[in-house]
C-alpha cells in the first residue's frame, strides 16, 4: 500500500496544472481572453477614430464656409468691411436688437461700429468697435467668433504699423516683444488625454482575466462539493490555496499580455491621426514586467473574496464590485494627472497606471520608482494572500 505524502512543491504543481487545464476548457475564461485582444483595442480606438473623423469633417466644413457677421453701422467703416470680406467674412444687415439676437442664438457674433468710428479713425486716435458674443458657447460654434476677432486684430495692427511708417517710425518699435512658441512635447506626449484611458482598460481586463478562475477554484469548488475531497488530500491547505492563486495569476497575466499586444497592433494599423502612438516589443515587455505585481494584487484580492463567499453567484456579485476598487485611483489619475513620485508610486493600480502612461508616451519612469511600485504591490498582494490562507484554514471554508 502506497500511503505517502508528497512535497509542498510537487503538490503545488499538481494543483496548479489541474486548475490551468480545467480552466483552459472553460469557455468563459477563454472568451474573456479573446475579447481582451480584440474588443479592448477596438472599443478604444474605434471610438477615437469615430470622434476624430466627426470633428475633422465638421471643422473643415465650418472653416470653408464664410462667417456670417451682422454689422451695425457698416457704413461708418467701408475699408474695414472690405478687409473682413477678404478674410472670409460675409457682412449681413444688422438685426433690430443685436444682444437679443445673440441670446436667442439667431446669430453667434455681431459687430457694432459706432458713429464716431470714422472721426476717431481719421484723427489717429483709437477707434472703438464692439463685438457682441456669448462666451458660454463652445465647440464649433465658437470658430466664427475667433475668426472675426483675429481678422479685426490683424486689421488693427496693420493700420497701426502703416501709421508709424507714415511718420517715419519703424513699426517694430511698437512691438516691444515678440513671443515665438516652440512646442517640445514629443508626438506621443500630445496624446496624454487619450492615454489616461489606457490604464483603466488594461487594469479592468487584468481583473476580468482571472475572475472566473478565482471564483471557480474556491467558491465554485465549494458549491460543487469538490472542495472537501480536495482538502482531505495529503497536501497542506496553504499550498492548495497558493496553487489556485498561481493559476489565477497565470490567466490574469496572459490576459494582460494579450491586451498589450492587442493595443500595439491597433496602434500600428488603425488609421488615427489624432494620436501617434506606437508600442514596440521592448516597451510591451517593460510594461508587462513592471506591472506584473498588479496582477498579483488583483488575483490575490479576488481569491481572497472568493474564499469567504458561499456560492458562485455571491462571489460573482462581490467581484463585480471589487473590480471597481482598483479603478478608483485611476480616476484620480485622469483628473489630476500627477507625475510619478515617491509619494504616489507605492499605491497599487495608481502606480501601474502611471507606468503605463509614461511608457506609452515614450518616456520612462525612474527605475527606483518602478522598483517601489513593484515591491509595494507585491507586498500588498502577499498580505492579501496571507489573509486568504488564514481564511482557508477555517473550518467554515467547507460551508
Amino acid at each position: 500500500m502506497n500511503n505517502q505524502t508528497i512535497s509542498h512543491l510537487r503538490g503545488f504543481w499538481v494543483v496548479l496544472r489541474k486548475e490551468i487545464t480545467d480552466n483552459l476548457r472553460d469557455r468563459r475564461s477563454l472568451t474573456t481572453m479573446a475579447v481582451s485582444i480584440v474588443v479592448g483595442p477596438l472599443l478604444m480606438f474605434g471610438f477615437l477614430w469615430f470622434a476624430e473623423k466627426t470633428v475633422k469633417e465638421e471643422t473643415d466644413l465650418v472653416n470653408a464656409e464664410a462667417v456670417q457677421l451682422p454689422v451695425i453701422g457698416a457704413e461708418h467703416a467701408p475699408n474695414l468691411m472690405n478687409w473682413l470680406r477678404q478674410n472670409n467674412v460675409e457682412i449681413l444687415a444688422a438685426p433690430s436688437d443685436a444682444e437679443e439676437s445673440i441670446k436667442s442664438g439667431e446669430h453667434r457674433v455681431v459687430l457694432v461700429v459706432s458713429e464716431d468710428f470714422t472721426k476717431s479713425f481719421s484723427d489717429g486716435s483709437t477707434a472703438p468697435l464692439r463685438l457682441i458674443h456669448d462666451s458660454s458657447i463652445s465647440g464649433l460654434e465658437k470658430i466664427g467668433y475667433s475668426t472675426v476677432q483675429n481678422a479685426l486684430n490683424r486689421y488693427g495692427s496693420q493700420i497701426g504699423a502703416m501709421r508709424l511708417a507714415a511718420r517715419g517710425v519703424n513699426p517694430q518699435i511698437a512691438r516691444a516683444i515678440q513671443v515665438n512658441v516652440s512646442d517640445v512635447a514629443s508626438p506621443q506626449a500630445r496624446n496624454a488625454q487619450i492615454l489616461t484611458m489606457m490604464p483603466y482598460i488594461i487594469i479592468l481586463f487584468i481583473m476580468a482575466g482571472g475572475m472566473y478562475l478565482a471564483i471557480d477554484t474556491t467558491a465554485g469548488e465549494r458549491e460543487k462539493g469538490s472542495l472537501e475531497p480536495l482538502l482531505t488530500q495529503p497536501v497542506a491547505r496553504p499550498v492548495i490555496l497558493l496553487a489556485k492563486l498561481g493559476a489565477t495569476i497565470v490567466f490574469s497575466a496572459l490576459t494582460f499580455l494579450m491586451v498589450l499586444i492587442g493595443l500595439a497592433l491597433a496602434m500600428e494599423y488603425m488609421p488615427i491621426e489624432m494620436i501617434s502612438l506606437s508600442l514596440d516589443p521592448a516597451t510591451i515587455a517593460k510594461v508587462f514586467i513592471s506591472c506584473l505585481p498588479f496582477v498579483f494584487v488583483g488575483s490575490a484580492l479576488m481569491v481572497l473574496l472568493a474564499s469567504f463567499t458561499k456560492s458562485y453567484k455571491e462571489a460573482q456579485s462581490y467581484l463585480g464590485m471589487v473590480m471597481l476598487i482598483p479603478s478608483l485611483p485611476l480616476v484620480m489619475l485622469a483628473f489630476l494627472s500627477p507625475e510619478p513620485s515617491a509619494s504616489n508610486m507605492w499605491i497599487p493600480s495608481l502606480s501601474q497606471g502611471l507606468i503605463i502612461i509614461e511608457n506609452f508616451k515614450g518616456d520612462s519612469v525612474p527605475l527606483s520608482l518602478v522598483g517601489l511600485s513593484m515591491i509595494a504591490s507585491t507586498a500588498f498582494a502577499a498580505l492579501l494572500a496571507f489573509i486568504a490562507i488564514k481564511l482557508y484554514q477555517r473550518e467554515r471554508i467547507l460551508g
Binding site: 505517502q4 460543487k224 475531497p229 497536501v235
Partner: protein
C-alpha cells in the same frame, strides 16, 4: 485501524458529536448507523481532518487526526457526502488528479485507474468528460478517486446515496474486496439493510452519542430482540429518521 475516544464537536449550542467512542479494525467493515442529524457525518469529518475536535482523541493507525493531518490524510481514502467531481475533466483525469496528490505518477497510476475502472464497472465512461454524468457515475468516479492510492483506511459517508440497485451491489462488492485485502473500512449510513448486510461491527449513533455497538449478534443479544431491526429501534429509542 481507527480509534475514537470520547470525541466531542459542538457547533455553538448544537452538540453534533457528544462523546463518541469506538474502534474500527483492519480487515473488518464497521458501520456508523443512525438517523439523519445523529452526528455520523461530523464524526467522519473529524476523522478525515476537515474538522478539529473540541475534545477527545481520534487516531488513525496510531496517528492523531488533529496534529498529524498530512500523514493521516495520506493513509485514508475518503468519499465525502455529496462528493463533487470536476465537470471539465474526464473521469480518468479526475481520478489521476487525486492519485498525483498522493504521489502516484505515470504508468503505475494509469494501471491503477484501469484496475478501478474495471472493478467499479466504469470503462464505458472513463475517458468521457464528467459534465452530464448521472449521480451513480459521479459517485463511482468519487469512489475510484478515494481508492486510487490503495488507502489503508477507507471512510465512506453515505456511499450508496443516489446509486441504483446494480451500482449498490457493485459498491458492496468493492467494500467486501477491501475488507478481504485487509483494509479498515468505516462507512456511515441511515439505511439499516445496507449496514446489516455488510458490517462486521455496527456503531449505532443517536443525538451525538453512541447508543449501542458490537457485532450484529451482540446487538441482538444485548437488546434481547431477535430481529435486527427491532434491536436498532430499541437502541436508538425511536424509529425517527431510519429507513
Amino acid at each position: 485501524m481507527i480509534e475514537v475516544a470520547n470525541l466531542k464537536k459542538y457547533f455553538g449550542k448544537v452538540k453534533a458529536v457528544d462523546g463518541v467512542s469506538f474502534e474500527a479494525h483492519d480487515g473488518k467493515i464497521t458501520g456508523l448507523l443512525g438517523p439523519n442529524g445523529a452526528g455520523k457525518s461530523t464524526t467522519l469529518r473529524v476523522l478525515y481532518t476537515a474538522f478539529k475536535p473540541d475534545s477527545g482523541i481520534a487516531l488513525i493507525d496510531g496517528r492523531n487526526v488533529e496534529h498529524e493531518k498530512l500523514d493521516v490524510r495520506a493513509s485514508i481514502g475518503v468519499l465525502t457526502h455529496g462528493a463533487g467531481i470536476y465537470e471539465r475533466l474526464s473521469a480518468r483525469e479526475n481520478i489521476r488528479y487525486f492519485g498525483e496528490l498522493h504521489g502516484l505518477t505515470g504508468k503505475p497510476l494509469n494501471r491503477r485507474i484501469d484496475e478501478l475502472a474495471e472493478l467499479l464497472d466504469m470503462q464505458d465512461f472513463i475517458e468521457r468528460r464528467s459534465k452530464g454524468f448521472s449521480q451513480g457515475q459521479k459517485t463511482k468516479v468519487a469512489l475510484a478517486r478515494a481508492l486510487v492510492h490503495s488507502p489503508k483506511n477507507v471512510l465512506l459517508d453515505e456511499p450508496t446515496n443516489g446509486l441504483d440497485v446494480m451500482a449498490t451491489r457493485g459498491l458492496r462488492e468493492v467494500i467486501q474486496r477491501l475488507k478481504n485485502a485487509g483494509h479498515c473500512v468505516l462507512f456511515s449510513s441511515h439505511v439499516m439493510q445496507e449496514v446489516a448486510a455488510l458490517c462486521d461491527e455496527i456503531v449505532i449513533i443517536a443525538h451525538g452519542k453512541v447508543a449501542a455497538s458490537g457485532s450484529p449478534d451482540q446487538l441482538r443479544s444485548s437488546t434481547g430482540e431477535q430481529n435486527l431491526e427491532d434491536a436498532f429501534v430499541k437502541a436508538i429509542g425511536s424509529e425517527e429518521g431510519l429507513v
